[in-house]
């Protein structure tokens, strides 16, 4: 299962990158990046997954005493939570930038924003 998820995650990253590299439309690039972000989230979670264990929450079924053998690694989940939020923050930011760029030039084609060069 881990491997399936890992492979999915990595493929998502690659697909996202491919989209970002080949689409000149700013919005489509941002969309592609959110896909890549989803991919990395999947990868992280997959790394933390341990077969046959449950979520790291202590309740009636998992007591504090046998947490050691019953729960999976909580750390990757914590990391992903942070990563997701950061991802959305950046995506929102990029969107607004794209909007402003569009406002300036009336286009979303990234190759049209190359005044700064060399």
């Amino acid at each position: 299962m881990t491997y399936i998820a890992l492979a999915t995650g990595f493929l998502l990253i690659l697909i996202g990158f491919y989209g970002a590299l080949t689409n000149r439309n700013l919005l489509r690039m941002i969309v592609a990046f959110t896909i890549a972000n989803s991919g990395i989230n999947v990868v992280i979670i997959a790394i933390g997954y341990m077969h046959g264990r449950t979520a790291p929450i202590l309740d009636a079924t998992v007591s504090a005493a046998d947490a050691l053998t019953r729960v999976i690694d909580p750390v990757p989940q914590v990391l992903v939570l942070t990563a997701i939020v950061i991802g959305v923050g950046v995506a929102a930011l990029m969107l607004v930038f794209a909007y402003k760029l569009y406002e300036r030039k009336g286009t979303l084609d990234i190759s049209k924003f190359a005044e700064l060069k060399w």
């Binding site: 697909i15 989209g19 689409n23 969309v31 959110t34 896909i35 989803s38 959305v88 995506a91 979303l108």
Partner: protein, 94 residues
């Protein structure tokens, strides 16, 4: 049960990948909206995957933020740009 779950996971993953490919490769009239929606779908399906991978917290977050909020943000911005939809074709017409 484990086999079933694995099979489900495989299907799910394939679905995720298909959605992702659609999202980056879709062309045509409404391609931008479709791309955004497909990306949202990727997030939603990923959150299911997170559930399977015993990460309910992450699943909730991904669904709410990745699948929901982000998609709305995209549409908010897209709606402000009348020509945003058509841009794709122009931009890639070379």
């Amino acid at each position: 049960m484990s086999t079933l779950l694995t099979a489900m996971t495989v299907v799910l993953c394939i679905a995720i990948l298909v959605a992702a490919i659609v999202s980056i490769q879709v062309k045509g009239d409404k391609s931008m909206s479709i791309a955004i929606l497909a990306a949202g779908l990727v997030s939603l399906l990923a959150s299911v995957l997170f559930l399977i991978l015993a990460a309910p917290d992450v699943a909730m977050t991904e669904a709410a933020i990745g699948g929901g909020l982000t998609t709305f943000l995209f549409f908010f911005v897209l709606a402000r740009m009348r020509n945003g939809e058509r841009e794709y074709e122009e931009a890639n017409h070379d």
